[in-house]
């Protein structure tokens, strides 16, 4: 990592970092380029650290190395002071992983999943039972402890996986894309649990391509793309760096003539407009994010006029303060999804 300020929380200077990564790189066999191209950062103890980037950016490779499943090509990685390459066995005692996909033991009940996991990690029998009961309660699973994982919903599966990894009380918890595929209620539950874990002193490293999630949960966010760390700071400071900019999110109903590229270019050439990026619209229409200097409201009329001239119809405008998504677009030149 070069040219990126690695700012730590004020009180973290003298403690062992929860995660320490230096010049970490990975090239998979037969791959033409590095999946991870020399990344360095630190996560302080008790911090919630967000890894933000599109698919294939290097998030999962970084997490894979930190959780001992991927061997780095070069560089150093420590979790809770333990070198994950030199001593993966010890590292696995201090880290916990919640993967993206269900990897619960289908042959065991929910409670047995928790108990056996703890036995693999050397938690004494009495303590195992005590922790399992407490975690089943805490994660809202106490009413069906004897059910098989296959009989539960996606949100419940994920809660089980978090509860399972907490059985060995890891110092650092890795959550890989935790809210992918969750309904809004399950996502909110997850966010509450992450906040509780932080309050209890657990360090949480979370990968996501969800801007809201990164902004809401994280003390600091690392933005990663093409295996390189582009920025690392608190969400507030990352956004502050773009504070002069305001945005208009425009939804356009395409007309019989004209195409999205022309409209985008025309928007970009308006006086006072810094940039105009087309965003993905799940509904199949056109969406543009127009970044302007000064008061965004003053641009609504010229934008509407211009869209009209290009053959479209402006159906919705949302005026926005810049957010993490804007930071991301600014840094990478493209939208995240």
């Amino acid at each position: 990592m070069t040219g990126v300020t690695n700012q730590s929380p004020a009180d973290g200077a003298h403690r062992t970092p929860a995660v320490e990564v230096a010049e970490l790189a990975k090239r998979y066999p037969k791959a033409p380029v590095d999946s991870l191209a020399g990344v360095s950062f630190q996560v302080e103890e008790g911090e919630v650290f967000g890894f933000l980037g599109p698919n294939g950016a290097g998030k999962s490779t970084t997490i894979g190395i930190l959780t001992t499943r991927i061997r780095p090509t070069r560089g150093r990685a420590l979790v809770a002071g333990v070198d994950v390459v030199a001593d993966p066995v010890s590292a696995r005692r201090v880290l916990g992983v919640v993967p993206q996909q269900n990897n619960l033991d289908r042959s065991l009940s929910v409670r047995q999943n928790l108990l056996f996991h703890a036995s693999y990690h050397g938690v004494p029998a009495g303590e195992r039972k005590r922790r399992a009961d407490a975690l089943l309660e805490q994660f809202g699973l106490a009413d069906r402890p004897d059910g098989r994982p296959d009989d539960f919903s996606g949100g419940q599966i994920q809660r089980m996986m978090i509860a399972r990894t907490l059985m060995h009380a890891p110092s650092v918890l890795f959550l890989d894309e935790p809210s992918t595929g969750l309904d809004p209620a399950a996502r909110l539950f997850l966010w509450e649990k992450v906040a509780e874990l932080k309050a209890a002193g657990t360090t949480v490293v979370i990968t996501t391509h969800d801007m809201d999630e990164a902004a809401t949960l994280s003390d600091r966010v690392a933005i990663i793309d093409h295996g390189t760390l582009l920025a690392l700071d608190t969400p507030a400071r990352l956004v502050q760096g773009m504070s002069r900019e305001r945005t208009l999110d425009c939804t356009v109903e395409p007309g019989p003539t004209g195409d999205a590229v022309t409209v985008g270019l025309a928007l970009g050439s308006l006086a006072g407009v810094r940039s105009a990026d087309q965003l993905d619209d799940p509904a199949g229409g056109w969406r543009f994010r127009v970044a302007v200097d000064g008061d965004a409201a003053g641009y609504v009329a010229p934008v509407a006029q211009l869209v009209h001239e290009a053959g479209g119809r402006l159906t919705d405008v949302r005026l926005g303060e810049p957010n993490l998504e804007d930071v991301f677009i600014h840094l990478t030149g493209r939208a995240l999804r």
């Binding site: 959780t67 499943r69 061997r71 696995r92 990897n103 042959s107 036995s119 009380a169 890891p170 657990t202």
Partner: protein, 264 residues
Amino acid sequence: MTTEPLPPWGPWRTGLAILRRDLFVTGREFPIFLAQVILQPLFLLFVFGKVLTELGYAQADYKQVLFPGLVALAAVLTGVQSAALPLVIEFSYSNEIEDRLLAPLPVGAVAVEKVIFAAMRGLVAGLVMFPIGVWILGAIPWQASTGVAVIVMMILGSLLGAAMGLILGTYVPPNRINVTFALVLTPLIFTGSSQYPWPSLSHIRWFQVVSACNPMTYVSEGLRGLMAPSVPHIDTWVCFVVAIVFLVVLVVVGMFGFNRRALS
């Protein structure tokens, strides 16, 4: 760190905990497991050892040849299946193995546990052939003096099967496992000298050579030499040596495949 430290812990205890999990799951469905492993050898024993001899198509002493061979078959084959099938499923569809790969023990130890557990199942499958043999055949070839050696050879056979299963389970892509099982298991069953004594094949030379390449042959022949020494058989010490050499090679190859799947 904020969490209380766990008590001192050796990786071997994690290995035992994982083995306990496998035994727990097998124990819960033990009757199903038995039915699974017994059925095929049971029918082979019944048709070849009982029906054919009673109808006069096979000589009465054929069971001297057949019984030790079927014990070997049950032990080896159950070892193969008990290692290969779970590995294929856990590495691809269920990802279940991840929780064990993330447990505090070396990755290779997870493979060793798989082999030991599969071999335990193989040994049980071999052992239950004895009461079944007594039940169907009335009497089985057995010499008290070689009892311990028979058990050791059965353990070796189960381990050989489990090591072959480790290779199948880690090298074969999941979408090919059905066809691979058909292409590998059938030849394995019928070239392992379990239904015929290997030395008598001297006038079908090519088949003798093929059989000599099957590790199971040395288990069948070894057990035959120990249980029914009057039947022609390969020298018992040769069987032990070759079986051990096969075991070492298969485990090394299997461990390599396992590490490749477990770490990237």
